[in-house]
């Protein structure tokens, strides 16, 4: 392997005074300037803008696709009954171990459906700081009791605030219809 000498190209006079490229550059930037200025002056919405790409965050939000994976939450069925039966499969598959469940057994005061289910999560906690939103919990849940919301904006001041308990998760999750109602037919 010999030494290869790369010679600088000899510049012509017009190239050496740079004027052409400078003008070209100035034209480019001023084009963008007026493009954005027009966007701003006309108060265009994000998807209508020609050049300005910045999202005005609190007013404008992301348009998530349907398969977006946000915060995992618990859901209730149409009879306002917690679907989770504390099988702990989500706790098992959770890669960062964000889910912790303390299972318990319904006592004598439970109604007929609850007695059929027998088992429920006495405490159900998801540490949203550990959660990586992989969706394995939703995928593995045999009771369709845990779902990922399209919610990406979780705010808090302390680590403890990010450990969401059962009540908070249920409140966030709302209702999803249970069509099988297998525990009702016990």
């Amino acid at each position: 392997m010999g030494i290869k000498v790369v010679r600088r190209p000899k510049l012509s006079f017009t190239e050496r005074i740079y004027l052409g490229p400078i003008v070209k550059g100035l034209r480019l930037t001023i084009g963008h300037f007026f493009g954005t200025l027009t966007d701003v002056v006309l108060r265009r919405k994000q998807h209508e803008r020609k050049t300005a790409t910045t999202m005005q965050y609190p007013e404008e939000r992301w348009d998530f696709k349907d398969n977006f994976r946000g915060a995992p939450v618990l859901v209730s069925d149409q009879f306002d009954r917690m679907k989770c039966v504390a099988c702990q499969i989500c706790e098992f598959v959770c890669p960062p171990k964000a889910i912790t469940i303390w299972p318990s057994e319904f006592d004598e005061s439970a109604d007929d459906v609850e007695k059929g289910v027998e088992k429920y999560p006495e405490r159900f906690e998801i540490d949203m700081l550990r959660c990586i939103y992989c969706g394995y919990c939703e995928e593995s849940c045999p009771e369709e009791a845990i779902f990922l919301l399209q919610e990406a904006e979780l705010v808090g001041r302390t680590k403890e605030e990010f450990v969401f308990d059962r009540e908070k998760l249920l409140a966030m999750g709302g209702v999803r219809e249970d069509r099988a109602l297998k525990w009702h037919n016990k």
């Binding site: 039966v85 702990q88 007695k115 027998e118 045999p142």
Partner: protein
């Protein structure tokens, strides 16, 4: 042709010779071939009612059940081909027709043969579209066993165990057709002291333990193959542990000790391991101190006292711990070496009348069994006292005969030097069980992070007494020291003792 009461047959193209009378499941097991089965158990009579163990035998037009077919000379059997798989798939489909989708709440999930075989032999889908049959669920069979009739596949293992092994014959099949179920004959409650073995036997989740119910899924637990220390039998067990908690204890097969069973008392006897109130640091005059400080103080007391000290050991200690205690006695010149030996009623099956695991080891190491009056111990200066786990304890009046006390105990108490006691699941070591059999304890976890075993604590005391002493680096090394010091241990190694124990040598064992 093979003589001597043996027969030779061909299984999946491989010849194997087995004793006459062996069934095909056991014959296949010799080749390492697993024939699926629910109702068959080697220790119980064969009924052949689950039908999953179908195999093909040449010359027989239909598939045969391997459990109830005796091996014959020249028999040619196949455990896996398309026909067999189709047969098993059909059996699985029948078993699953009325089986509820309870896996999410079923404690058996993870060790359920129905799950395993559905995975390996099942079709994966159900063609059954009608309402499943509903039967009683969550039925209490007393305060230890919970029965779920929907999950039951009527293999009758529980019926046969209680009849043939426990001898109480308490459960039978009731009703007919799709309403068939199991019932407890008398007043609906089981009474056998061995009743919880039917929970282990049950191949599905029909029988679950009231104690373990919903505590943890199987896959969260870690397991330690150790032994039970409730009596001198030393039943081999597998202890399930999660987060420094003992969650359950189940028997482990050992043909020489406990077969496949253990008593309910031993099985449920682990509360002390989960006790949060236990002592977590050594104390000197009531103040928490590091182990080294407590060991130094104990050594000082023992050295001053010399012959006017007495050592009272516990038969719950391992051979290794007792050996170090013996060395301490030698070093400090303690002549009174005693141990408290709890006894109680036994039975013919497994429960032994010695209510501790290692009274034999203590005797071998030169400690004298005494009752709690301790006549031999009168006015002494120092008492070195390792409290037994339960069953017997020195009365205060006896303890009061000593001016100073060095005590190993689970809980806070009056003593000059107080060391925390550890439970059987927190240490490695060996004991001498009934029948002079050396068996190993295997550590499942250590509590409170910094808790030392009695061996380590005693070794620190011995180090403070004798500058030259080096603590054993590993459990194996500690065992080697015991084996070297005791003639009956000759020829035994730590690995040789292994998971199933080994009998002591021929030497005479003092009673």
């Amino acid at each position: 042709m093979s003589g001597n009461g043996n027969v030779t047959l061909t299984i999946d193209g491989t010849e194997v010779t087995v004793p006459k009378g062996t069934n095909l499941i056991e014959a296949a097991r010799r080749l390492g071939t697993h024939v699926p089965h629910y109702c068959y158990h080697p220790a119980l009579s064969v009924v052949g009612n689950c039908r999953i163990c179908l195999v093909e035998v040449e010359g027989m037009p239909k598939l045969q059940i391997a459990c109830n077919t005796e091996a014959r000379d020249g028999m040619v059997m196949r455990t896996r081909n398309e026909r067999v798989e189709k047969g098993r798939e059909g059996v699985m489909e029948f078993l699953l027709i009325n089986h509820p989708l309870d896996c999410t709440i079923c404690d058996q999930a993870g060790e359920c043969k129905l799950q395993d075989y559905a995975f390996h032999h099942g079709a994966g889908v159900s063609r059954f579209e009608d309402e499943k049959v509903h039967k009683p669920k969550n039925v209490s069979w007393g305060d230890r066993v919970v029965f779920d009739s929907e999950r039951c596949i009527l293999c009758t293992l529980c019926v046969r165990f209680l009849d043939e092994v426990a001898g109480t014959d308490e459960v039978s099949i009731d009703a007919r057709g799709d309403q068939v179920t199991l019932i407890v004959k008398a007043d609906g409650k089981l009474t056998s002291p061995y009743q919880m073995n039917i929970i282990d036997l049950c191949p599905v989740g029909a029988l679950t333990s009231r104690d373990f119910r919903f505590k943890s899924r199987l896959w969260f637990m870690q397991f330690a193959d150790t032994i039970c220390t409730s009596c001198a039998r030393g039943c081999n067990t597998t202890v399930g542990v999660r987060d420094e908690r003992v969650l359950r204890m189940v028997p482990r097969h050992n043909a020489d000790v406990n077969g496949d069973w253990m008593c309910d008392h031993g099985r449920l006897h682990f509360a002390i391991a989960n006790d949060d109130e236990r002592l977590s640091v050594p104390r000197v005059d009531g103040r928490g101190v590091p182990y080294a400080v407590a060991a130094q103080r104990a050594a000082d007391l023992l050295r001053e006292a010399g012959d006017s000290a007495a050592a009272v050991a516990s038969p719950f200690m391992t051979n290794e711990e007792l050996h170090v205690l013996k060395l301490i006695c030698d070093a400090a010149g303690i002549e009174k070496r005693l141990f408290l030996n709890p006894v109680g009623p036994g039975d013919e099956l497994l429960v032994h009348s010695e209510k501790s695991p290692n009274a034999r080891g203590a005797a071998l190491l030169g400690f004298e069994a005494v009752d709690q009056d301790c006549e031999g111990v009168q006015e002494i200066d120092v008492l070195l006292y390792v409290t037994p786990r339960e069953g017997i304890a020195l009365p205060e009046t006896v303890e009061a005969r000593a001016k100073r006390r060095i005590v190993f105990a689970f809980h806070e108490r009056e003593a000059d030097v107080l060391f925390p006691l550890t439970t059987w699941i927190e240490k490695d070591g060996t004991v001498v069980s009934a029948g002079d059999r050396v068996q190993r304890l295997v550590k499942g976890f250590s509590r409170f992070g910094s808790l030392l075993t009695e061996r380590a604590a005693l070794e620190m005391v011995l180090q403070a007494l004798e500058a030259g002493f080096e603590p054993a680096a590993t459990p194996a090394q500690a065992f080697e020291r015991v084996a070297a010091a005791l003639a009956p241990f000759e020829g035994l190694t730590f690995t040789g003792v292994g998971a199933h124990g080994a009998p002591l040598g021929r030497q005479e064992v003092p009673a």
